[in-house]
């Protein structure tokens, strides 16, 4: 639950940051309206967070947490209305992204998608949006990433969307996943230059993990020095059950 709180707060912070970029360029009133909408949202969350901390019983805490988790959904409609009323203002993009990232039940998120696809699909800011959305679990986020991957002219955004979709497909089962592997291979081939090549490099490591470090794969050989400088190999332990523990004393 704590984790959920943190995720939501992180998204809020990102949305605030995305909004701040535009305020310098665009004249009021749309940016001001957007700013006050964000402020209302933050206030609603802060109020409940305080109530949560000071709640007396676990039952009260549960109730407040449920309310807290509903806050984004209740604001999604307002953000969507704002975007529709200010369609020509750059903050409309931020508001639509906010809806897609925060609307967990998908109702408002689905309405935000056509608006964002129609107007902002090729926008340079879409690159950062796709990076942000890779951490979102909303179904609308996946739909937007899909649209970007398929038809955006912003190649960087396309690369990040492809990578994010691949990562979203890989569950925690630790098993191979053909679809995710195909998308990662695409990132490596078609988006080699994105982020100076770091995106492709990351995708290469992820693809190696799926293809060679999944459940059922024969473990790659490890030959290196131990802490005292004596070389040894994983193969020396064939015939034994082995727990490999990547660790550090921190």
């Amino acid at each position: 639950m704590k984790h959920y709180l943190l995720c939501t707060l992180a998204l809020v912070a990102l949305s605030v940051a995305a909004g701040a970029d535009d305020e310098k360029k665009a004249p009021p009133p749309a940016p001001d309206t957007y700013k006050s909408l964000m402020a209302d949202f933050s206030k609603a969350q802060r109020t409940l967070a305080t109530e949560y901390r000071t709640a007396k019983t676990p039952e009260d805490r549960q109730k407040i947490l449920a309310q807290y988790n509903q806050v984004p959904a209740t604001f999604a409609g307002r953000f969507l209305e704002f975007a529709q009323a200010n369609a020509d203002d750059p903050t409309a993009f931020d508001a639509l992204v906010w809806v897609i990232a925060n609307d967990a039940d998908g109702k408002h998120g689905d309405k935000a998608i056509p608006a964002i696809v129609g107007r902002f699909l090729d926008d340079p800011k879409m690159t950062r949006v796709c990076q942000q959305l890779s951490r979102s679990t909303s179904p609308a986020a996946k739909k937007l990433l899909q649209a970007v991957m398929e038809s955006s002219k912003n190649v960087d955004a396309q690369g990040h969307a492809t990578y994010a979709l691949a990562k979203a497909m890989v569950g925690r089962s630790g098993e191979r996943n053909e679809k995710a592997e195909a998308l990662l291979a695409r990132v490596i081939e078609d988006f080699a230059k994105v982020n100076n090549g770091t995106l492709a490099k990351t995708a290469e490591r992820d693809l190696f993990e799926l293809q060679h470090l999944s459940i059922g794969c024969e473990a790659p050989e490890i030959t290196s020095e131990d802490i005292d400088g004596v070389e040894f190999s994983l193969a020396d332990y064939r015939g034994k059950i082995v727990v490999l523990d990547f660790w550090g004393n921190w």
């Binding site: 925690r172 490591r205 190696f208 473990a219 020095e225 802490i227 727990v243 660790w247």
Partner: protein, 102 residues
């Protein structure tokens, strides 16, 4: 982690089992002191003094600790099992091995 690992190694002493570490600490000499102090008897590869060492990089490790459980054939059978789940995973592989031998 250390107490669980110590008891695991103790419990399975004499069995076909090994706990092997891949260590990403920066300071090798300090680490040697930790080994003594924490009674870490199992062997570890030294991954070059960084979390970006060659082994952790190849194995795409992004969080520590990361755990893999391999069977006697060297096949990866479990990933990131901890505590009781790790014990259970090892016991199942041990039972499987003994079934295969008879």
């Amino acid at each position: 982690m250390y107490p669980h690992e110590r008891s695991l190694v103790k419990r399975l002493a004499g069995e076909p089992f090994a706990l092997l570490g891949i260590n990403s600490d920066r300071d090798r000499e300090k680490l040697k002191e930790v080994l003594k102090k924490e009674e870490i008897t199992w062997r570890s590869w030294w991954d070059g003094g960084s979390t970006h060492g060659p082994i952790a990089t190849q194995w795409n490790v992004r969080g520590w600790p990361t755990v893999y459980v391999l069977d006697a054939k060297g096949v990866i059978r479990y990933k990131n099992v901890r505590g009781e789940a790790m014990d259970k995973a090892i016991d199942e592989l041990m039972a499987e091995m003994k079934d295969g031998a008879t």
